[in-house]
């Protein structure tokens, strides 16, 4: 019954026409002269991008250092119109040497660019915004022609937002010296885009990078001319040619770009599996890795919602050319029938067609996206799902109709797999609590919307969702001032707002990142076996008996392995034995931490501060014992005293900071606030360094607790006893399971933690090999990791021990949009 505006089977006498190509009027002047025979409007709007491609002789290279780079003897890829298959241009594929040239150009430009006062960089970004404004028509027609997306979305959405991004970040550059004092730009940034992400995703990332003084090399997939055009526009501003370089090449060049010396950070936007592979490849390499993965979003429709508006939200989320991915739709059972009817009715009114047609809702996105959707739908159908499509599209059509999948069996693989564009997978829920459990049960966490007219319910769901962005009664709103990012497998790279800026900054004075990659590290065997420990001679010295056991779930318990490891003092004498923790203990500790998490998250910052302050007092009470323990491990008495004193101070400082978290953003064009929340990471595992055994332990612990995390700690390997001393107070003061401390072989414990799927973040301070292993292993559940790459830190310096970096890392951001109106 519902025949959408998608080509139907009855119209099928054009089957073989795909790829025939569009005949273009070569001589248009004559036809334009007579108004009664204007050429077809689409042909008309094709001219501008075609003319631009002609300036390159339909032969696109790379844009490096303000010049087109067209090296010889390179493979080339055709750039095709996704609908007609017509060849628009030929794109050269970069090779390693082109990447080297681009990184070199960016490196040279960095010296000038980063040295400029922020005001000058602001000026330059504003000039680029103006440049885009002057050539916006070329930009949107080219983007729509090449990607097949509806021109309306590019024209009314992407291009204005690109300008807004430049303007916002120009302001940030202007105020950088003042607001971001103590931070410096990282250096050359590599940005890798995969084909599903548009030029706008590139803008989201290059704007903050350029604003803070970094320079960028962008690796775009072959046959994507729009980023090249943007680079050309930036290059044509004249000054600072090398700040934005765009090379096009296959995804396999990603690791090449990332491992160039000088590249300090790599941001990758693409599919989850690709991101995972890149994470593994880049373990131990110089560049830091930021991941923004997947494109699926989620919509939660409660019975208290304005259903018609929510249906429009579904259209915005999946059946428009605004979004890159599909949608998981959760509908409350009581409004299921009504919603399905409205959805199907609405689907029938969607128009598909050539993107350049201004009255089209959905274009076509090329063969890859089509096949992906096709495969998913076929799979879902074979698993017993109901599939509804508006309009029957012949199998050889480049278009894919809007698709609604329902009744998917809960156990089928499609329930867990990422939903591709333009598919919506609907499933029912009974209560809000159940909806939250289902939503948080998916491994991804990019964005979600909640539709409910009940304020309390909407906020409960909005706060409860573990995602990067939540919209209440809206979907897909974006603004340069609001940070956008994700959590879980969606990666933890942020763009926009303050969080976007910190992605490309590091505390001033941090040494440049160099590769510490070790060929010899065997990921399969690292830390696998625990060296056996034997009695190590008599315990010498007057100290009281050392605390023994693992602090798990609020009390000391014997290790699963039932063995101990000796700890030597500075003279090589036996100081005492600590428990030899293993995989089983780690499992227990993580479980205990998970159980304690809801209680701790629910605590007010004030209550958290009180506990941290109480712990500081307890620590001071133990000052004598702690000092003597530290002294025995070779610390000077004076330094030991300082360490204990600083530790207490850290606890108090973080307790105080816990109270000032998050803030409210006011966004242009939106009535109502956007909350920038700082939420805990969850269960955080921390492997503490050997240096400053007490201070480092306390600093890391305090920052983690202040932000609402529950922790599993592995104290210093050489000197764990001061930390264990403190554990006696923690066992008494803190809620059970909030802090769990496991001693033992660090490599083995690190292995267990890094591979653990329920550990939600991991900080590692230890050997270079350990760091490399942690980076490699984090690819499993894509937990955010922070490693010291084998470099000892000066924990007594304010910048390190209490620096803002620790605060940034200890929590994740969430943007909560609250549009208002009566």
């Amino acid at each position: 019954m519902f025949m959408g505006y998608f080509p139907s089977v009855q119209d099928k006498n054009w089957g073989g026409q795909r790829g025939a190509g569009v005949p273009l009027p070569k001589d248009s002047g004559q036809k334009l002269s007579s108004p009664s025979c204007l050429p077809d409007p689409i042909l008309n709007s094709l001219r501008l991008p075609q003319a631009w491609l002609d300036t390159q002789d339909r032969h696109l290279g790379h844009y490096v250092n303000g010049k087109w780079l067209k090296p010889e003897h390179r493979n080339s890829v055709p750039c095709q119109d996704p609908i007609t298959g017509e060849r628009l241009a030929i794109c050269l594929q970069a090779q390693a040497e082109d990447v080297v040239a681009a990184v070199e150009a960016a490196g040279t430009a960095f010296e000038n660019w980063s040295g400029l006062p922020g005001a000058s960089r602001a000026q330059h970004l504003l000039r680029l915004a103006k440049m885009i404004q002057k050539h916006q028509r070329l930009l949107w027609t080219l983007e729509s022609l090449v990607t097949g997306r509806a021109v309306r979305e590019v024209r009314d959405g992407d291009v204005p937002l690109a300008q807004q991004l430049l303007q916002y970040h120009a302001v940030q550059a202007y105020t950088q010296e003042e607001v971001l004092a103590g931070w410096e730009p990282m250096g050359v940034i590599g940005l890798i885009l995969s084909p599903t992400f548009s030029f706008l995703e590139m803008m989201w990332r290059i704007c903050p990078a350029l604003a803070v003084g970094c320079t960028v090399v962008v690796l775009v997939p072959p046959a994507s001319p729009t980023p090249l055009l943007l680079a050309q526009l930036a290059g044509e501003l004249g000054s600072f040619p090398g700040i934005l370089n765009v090379i096009s090449g296959p995804a396999s060049l990603g690791p090449v770009l990332a491992s160039q010396p000088g590249v300090q950070k790599v941001t990758f936007c693409g599919a989850i599996e690709e991101g995972r592979a890149l994470r593994r490849t880049l373990a131990g390499k110089g560049a830091e890795l930021g991941l923004a993965l997947g494109a699926e979003s989620l919509l939660m429709l409660t019975e208290a919602a304005d259903v018609d508006s929510a249906v429009e939200g579904v259209v915005d989320a999946a059946w428009s050319d605004r979004s890159a991915g599909g949608l998981r739709l959760l509908i409350q059972e009581s409004v299921w029938d009504e919603t399905m009817r409205r959805l199907q009715e609405r689907m029938a009114r969607l128009r598909g067609g050539r993107g350049l047609d201004g009255a089209v809702d959905m274009g076509a996105r090329g063969a890859a996206a089509h096949d992906l959707a096709q495969r998913y739908v076929r799979e879902a159908r074979s698993q017993g799902a109901q599939v509804f499509q508006a309009g029957a599209v012949p199998s050889d059509s480049p278009f894919f109709p809007p698709t609604l999948v329902s009744d998917l069996p809960p156990a089928s693989p499609c329930t867990q797999a990422e939903v591709p564009w333009p598919v919506v997978v609907a499933s029912p829920f009974r209560t809000a609590k159940e909806a939250l459990a289902v939503a948080n049960g998916t491994p991804r966490g990019a964005s979600a919307s909640v539709w409910s007219e009940r304020l309390g319910q909407a906020l409960e769901l909005g706060y409860g969702l573990r995602v990067g962005t939540v919209w209440i009664n809206a979907h897909g709103l974006r603004n340069a001032e609001v940070p956008t990012g994700g959590c879980k497998e969606s990666g933890s790279s942020w763009s926009g707002g303050p969080d976007g800026l910190y992605e490309y900054l590091r505390p001033s004075g941090t040494p440049a990142r160099l590769s510490y990659f070790s060929e010899n590290l065997n990921y399969g065997t690292f830390g696998l076996a625990v060296p056996s420990t034997l009695p190590a001679g008599p315990e010498i010295g007057p100290s009281p008996a050392t605390p023994y056991g693992l602090l798990i779930g609020g009390h000391f318990q014997a290790p699963g392995a039932r063995s101990s490891r000796p700890i030597q003092d500075a003279q090589g004498n036996l100081h005492g034995y600590v428990a030899e923790g293993g995989a089983k203990d780690i499992r227990g500790a993580v479980e205990a931490a998970h159980q304690a998490a809801p209680g701790w998250v629910g605590q007010s910052p004030g209550a958290r501060a009180t506990l941290l302050w109480a712990l500081a007092t307890a620590l001071e009470r133990r000052e004598a014992a702690l000092t003597s323990r530290l002294e025995r491990h070779g610390t000077e008495l004076k330094d030991a005293k300082v360490e204990v004193e600083l530790s207490a101070r850290q606890l108090r400082a973080w307790g105080a900071r816990a109270q000032a978290q998050g803030h409210v953003l006011q966004v242009a064009g939106l009535k109502g606030p956007v909350l920038r929340l700082r939420e805990p990471l969850g269960v955080l595992a921390i492997v503490c360094p050997d240096e400053w055994p007490l201070l480092a332990f306390v600093s890391l612990l305090a920052a983690a607790l202040a932000h609402g995390n529950t922790v599993v700690l592995v104290p210093s390997g050489a000197c764990p006893i001061p930390a264990l001393e403190l554990c006696q107070d923690m066992a008494a003061l803190l809620p059970a399971g909030l802090v769990n401390v496991v001693t033992g072989d660090r490599d083995h414990l690190t292995r267990c933690l890094a591979l653990h799927q329920d550990v939600q973040a991991l900080w590692y301070f230890g050997s270079a090999q350990g760091s490399q292993f942690v980076e490699w292993a984090s690819a499993g559940n894509l937990k955010p990791v922070w490693v010291n790459r084998g470099c000892p830190w000066a924990w007594d310096q304010e910048a390190k021990g209490a620096g803002r970096e620790l605060g940034l890392r200890a929590a994740r951001t969430k943007a909560l949009w609250l549009p208002m109106g009566d």
């Binding site: 080509p7 026409q17 208290a304």
Partner: protein, 359 residues
Amino acid sequence: MSARNRGTELDQVGGATEEGVDLPSSLHPTGMHTSGFGCFPMEPEALNLSWISKMQVNQPAVLRRAQQIQARRTVKKEWQAAWLLKAVTFIDLTTLSGDDTSSNIQRLCYKAKYPIREDLLKTLNMHDKGLTTAAVCVYPARVCDAVRALKAAGCTIPVASVATGFPAGQTHLKTRLEEIRLAVEDGATEIDVVINRTLVLTGQWEGSDFIKTSTGKETVNATFPVAIVMLRAIRDFFWKTGNKVGFKPAGGIRSAKDSLAWLSLVKEELGDEWLTPDLFRIGASTLLSDIERQVCNNPLSWDKLTSVFLRKKRKIPYWAMRTREKTSSDLPHCTQTSAFIQANPHLKWADWTRERECA
């Protein structure tokens, strides 16, 4: 002469008869029952006031939708001309001034009969299709003049009258009913009733067979967000009861571009079924002259316009028409167009007009 109780002017949904008094039997809705909308079986129910209390409207979301809908379906060229002529057929050509006399009513009626200049219609090949506005709308005292003038012009355009203490509706029920009877006696076939908003605000609703955004005499009249809410209510009511309620935006619709946006709004929210003068009217006084100006400015002489305009359903797909053009004309651009269409299969669907615009 029978008249339909046609308009209830209100920013919201539905209408109310007050104090339980029956309307004259001739004013009862005809009760159009149409079976089936989509694949969902429909079991008509009686009006249930609890529907209204369950209704949820999210204002910011409706505002966003209103903004989108104006940008999403802009039409150009021959499609624009066809849509504009279609818009003419929905106009309730209105004069509601205190100084209306029989002479300006006469002019109004002439304009209703010949809404677009004959020479322009000739260019568009639409001169012999009997294009008129949907109705003329006047004060009750001018109904006689209008009926006489239309009769003299020899046409059957209905005369609508505002009644019942227009525009405030704050007069006695008795005088209001009398007003309706008199207007009907004078020959009005459609009555725009101003409902008692006191009753509405206290939740005492009743059905109506046409709803109107406003009287046109308020500071804010027909706006898209309000219209979206009303149209959704019309659709829900149809789904629930099988009754099709008509919709009339009135006031502030002055430009041809606005009228196109209104048409596309109705088409998007309710579908083509509602794009008929029985179910959709635009109350306007100055809109027509702007439409005429736009048709005049349309530089295209479209001999195919007639078929674009008159085609009710997708019997002949749009592309087929354009392909025939190829054989009938050897203009180079036409050949290219049809070649393009052949190469671009997605262009091969359309309904009674094809909305299209290019960047």
